[in-house]
Amino acid sequence: MKARIHVTLKKTVLDPQGQTIHQAVQTLGYHGIEEIRQGKYFEITLDDSLSREAWAALMDKLAHEVLSNPVIEEYDVALEEEP
């Protein structure tokens, strides 16, 4: 099983990196893109020692305690069975 965790800046926090990328992308001629916000992506490989529910809870704890800074960031955890 894999956990896929996205960490992004909160909507209320300014993202100067995303803005800079957005400006560059517009300069390149990509039109219609309203906003770009940059984040981090973690792909975590899990064994089968825990149930899906237990892994989900543990990954949520990991994202909160380590992978994100709750002062400025929010996160999203998705668990996927491997094919």
Partner: protein
């Protein structure tokens, strides 16, 4: 009375801090390796500048889990003095010893330059020898020094007089132009509610001798030494 300078993998201002304490203000000081799990015998702990753990994940995010930080927390809770400079400030915020977070500079550039700072409070063991409103010249050297916290926390910092240094111009005016990194309310340094933990982005240890262009930072270390001497006498 003893100072300790914590050395994380990637610290690079540890020797500067050690030099200022031992040679400039003439106080006993040790390096403390991050694997150490005791702070017995120390009165001041300095978390120096640098790039602990390569700034991986976020600056200070890995260092806060190191063994030494597990003893810095109770050390601070029992009244020990903790000074976090630059990366040390980032570690203090990540570990929850100070509120808020230090984000990427709004310029997205690594800023390495002298800045002006206004002393906002002398009611700390770190700043009692300065004067309120005094303008200091001290260098910064960081990519992530853009202080951020929520409105409630900012209000609390202001109300409790916990903003200790603000970026200002030469005359001491708090202008946006004088704010090098986009910090909220021009914040350069804050302390905790008990006023024994201070974090700041500028480097007072790099401005403690005239030959380096400014000695305005030296007073911070003198303040600490004097505060300690008074504590030990009691």
């Amino acid at each position: 009375m003893k100072f300790g300078v914590v050395v994380f993998p990637g610290s690079n201002c540890d020797h500067d801090a050690y030099h200022v304490i031992s040679k400039v203000i003439g106080q006993p000081v040790d390096f403390i390796w991050h694997h150490q799990t005791s702070l017995t015998g120390y009165d001041v702990v300095i978390l120096p500048g640098g790039f602990s753990y390569g700034d991986y994940l976020r600056p200070g995010a890995i260092a806060r889990f190191s063994p030494i930080m597990q003893v810095v927390k109770p050390f601070a809770a029992s009244g020990g003095l903790v000074l976090g400079i630059c990366n040390g400030f980032q570690i203090l915020c990540e570990s929850g010893l100070l509120p808020g977070a230090l984000m990427r500079n709004r310029t997205l550039k690594f800023m390495c330059q002298f800045v002006h700072l206004r002393v906002e409070s002398t009611d700390t063991p770190f700043t009692h020898l300065y004067e309120v409103g005094q303008v200091l010249q001290i260098p910064i050297a960081h990519a992530d020094g853009n202080y951020y916290c929520d409105a409630e926390t900012l209000d609390e910092l202001q109300r409790e007089n916990r903003i200790i240094f603000r970026y200002c111009d030469r005359q001491g005016h708090l202008t946006d132009d004088a704010n090098p990194n986009g910090s909220l309310d021009n914040i350069a340094g804050i302390c905790n509610r008990e006023r024994n933990v201070l974090g700041l982005m500028p480097h007072p240890e790099r401005a403690s001798e005239e030959i380096l262009g400014s000695s305005d930072g030296r007073t911070l270390f003198h303040s600490l030494a004097m505060a300690l001497a008074e504590l030990t006498r009691d």
